[in-house]
């Protein structure tokens, strides 16, 4: 058998130096003559990663654009008490299997992390890549209660909803979900309403937008007169988004632009949206840093309660129990603080010894800053 030729990635041009330079110059042309730098929030942690990894942050600053990291890291915004409830469950019950995404196991809380915790007899914690893997663990371990602890935004929520529906249709009795599911538009509204951080425009998360489409952000342009653009994740994608936002600011015509049209449809993904509506209902959720936000979380509808770990195990998901830590992740998530300005950044808090989720998650601003900024800046 001859080895199959690997498919060539058709988007290498989105990383090419000449393309990046061309768009940067276009941005510079627009910002020329402005009396102050423009402040644009990249909502999504994966965008933060692109900006650092490709060295665009300082280049944009030179071109008159300051990028501010936003709350787009689901691991970071999930409150401590979710982790503490899961740690309680797995340390005080036998034969529990917690299946979760890798980042979530490392988040430090007053009760340690899932990684450092010692489970009760027959209980264990497993890292999975997809919710369906958790379901397969439940099929293979009929003697255990398998709980999938999943955190995610709209990008991940349909996969989780699909898996729960499948578990219901297979009548799987030993599977349940602890859902930490967050919605981006209500968080943007909360940031805009708080007025704490000056923002001239937004770069909207490309893969959240794949699901929710373009209209979901309309209130930002209409109610708050704030420009924005959906962008993809290659360097040129992010820059095209920024160029669009800068042009909207200059022309005083805020809109919801889509600069990721090769992937994002205006109406989003209708199959995914229908599934979410069938399985889940909104509720007023707590975000780390941002606090209580109206209709910003999704949970299973009461008719699926047999699969809801909160109901099944009577989990106490309540704030207040957690110790106050000196981690300033909450301010980082709101765009109020740069990671390097946290007094703990670098020496005390680092990837080997993270003190907060922003230093744990691959999308966390502190970890990204630590990994990609020059060693000189590390304290």
């Amino acid at each position: 058998m001859t080895p199959r030729k690997p498919s060539k990635e058709p988007f290498s041009d989105w990383r090419s130096g000449s393309t990046v330079k061309g768009i940067l110059e276009a941005i510079r042309r627009e910002t020329r003559g402005l009396d102050r730098p423009l402040r644009i929030m990249e909502v999504c942690g994966t965008h933060t990663m692109t900006l650092y990894r490709s060295g665009l942050k300082p280049l944009l600053r030179e071109a008159g654009v300051v990028m501010i990291s936003g709350p787009g890291c689901p691991v970071c915004i999930t409150p401590d008490y979710y982790h503490e409830a899961i740690i309680d469950l797995v340390t005080s019950n036998n034969n529990i299997l917690i299946a979760t995404f890798g980042d979530l196991t490392r988040v430090p809380t007053a009760r340690g992390s899932l990684q450092t915790t010692v489970p009760s007899a027959g209980s264990e914690i497993r890292i999975v890549y997809s919710p369906e893997e958790a379901l397969e663990l439940a099929q293979k371990n009929p003697g255990k209660e398998v709980i999938f602890f999943g955190a995610g935004f709209e990008t991940t929520i349909p996969a989780i909803a699909f898996t729960v529906k499948r578990a219901a249709s297979e009548n799987l009795k030993n599977f349940s979900l602890l859902a930490a599911l967050w919605l981006i538009p209500p968080a943007l509204k909360a940031i805009l309403q708080s007025g704490q951080v000056a923002i001239d425009g937004f770069i909207y998360p490309g893969h959240v937008s794949v699901i929710i489409g373009q209209q979901a952000y309309r209130f930002v342009a209409e109610e708050f007169r704030t420009p924005g653009a959906i962008a993809g994740f290659e360097p040129a994608d992010v820059l095209l988004g920024i160029l669009s936002v800068v042009r909207q600011i200059k022309q005083g015509r805020p809109e919801v632009a889509n600069e990721y049209r090769r992937v994002v449809q205006v109406e989003g993904n209708p199959v995914a949206l229908a599934l979410m509506a069938e399985m889940l209902e909104p509720y007023h959720a707590d975000w780390r840093g941002l606090g209580h936000i109206k209709n910003s979380g999704l949970r299973l509808k009461p008719c699926w309660q047999a699969l809801d770990a909160v109901r099944k195990f009577d989990l106490a998901l309540q704030p207040g129990k957690s110790l106050q830590s000196s981690c300033r992740c909450g301010e980082v998530l709101k765009g109020l603080l740069e990671p390097v300005d946290c007094p703990l950044f670098g020496r005390v808090c680092n990837p080997d010894h993270p003190l907060g989720p922003c230093m744990v998650s691959y999308e966390g601003a502190c970890l990204i800053e630590y990994k990609y900024s020059s060693g000189a800046k590390k304290k």
């Binding site: 199959r4 690997p6 498919s7 060539k8 990635e9 058709p10 988007f11 041009d13 000449s18 393309t19 330079k21 061309g22 768009i23 110059e25 276009a26 510079r28 042309r29 020329r32 999504c44 942690g45 994966t46 787009g72 890291c73 689901p74 691991v75 995404f101 980042d103 890549y129 997809s130 919710p131 369906e132 893997e133 955190a151 995610g152 935004f153 990008t155 991940t156 349909p158 996969a159 989780i160 699909f162 998360p205 893969h207 959240v208 794949v210 699901i211 994740f233 040129a236 095209l240 049209r261 090769r262 992937v263 994002v264 993904n269 199959v271 995914a272 599934l275 998650s361 691959y362 999308e363």
Partner: protein, 76 residues
């Protein structure tokens, strides 16, 4: 977490799953959220599920825009 890279669909099974090739590495994906996918399509896969198909026509349009911006040269 919202990281998702484009891959090419190489096979489809009757149960709604199939294989996607990422530059030589093949992984299993669930296509239930993206009906109508064909072998040869480029898709975005996240947490084991294909969530979007790449529109090559739009991609080419963006490439053309890149070329135009490059031609404009430096700002000053």
């Amino acid at each position: 977490m919202c990281l998702a890279v484009p891959g090419k669909v190489v096979s489809l099974e009757s149960n709604g799953t199939g294989k996607v090739d990422y530059l030589g590495t093949t992984v299993l994906a669930n296509f239930s959220l993206l009906p109508g996918v064909k072998v040869g399509d480029w898709v975005i896969v996240h947490a084991g599920f294909a969530i979007s198909r790449l529109d090559q026509k739009e991609a080419r349009r963006t490439l053309k825009l890149f070329k135009e911006l490059e031609k404009l040269g430096p700002a000053d």
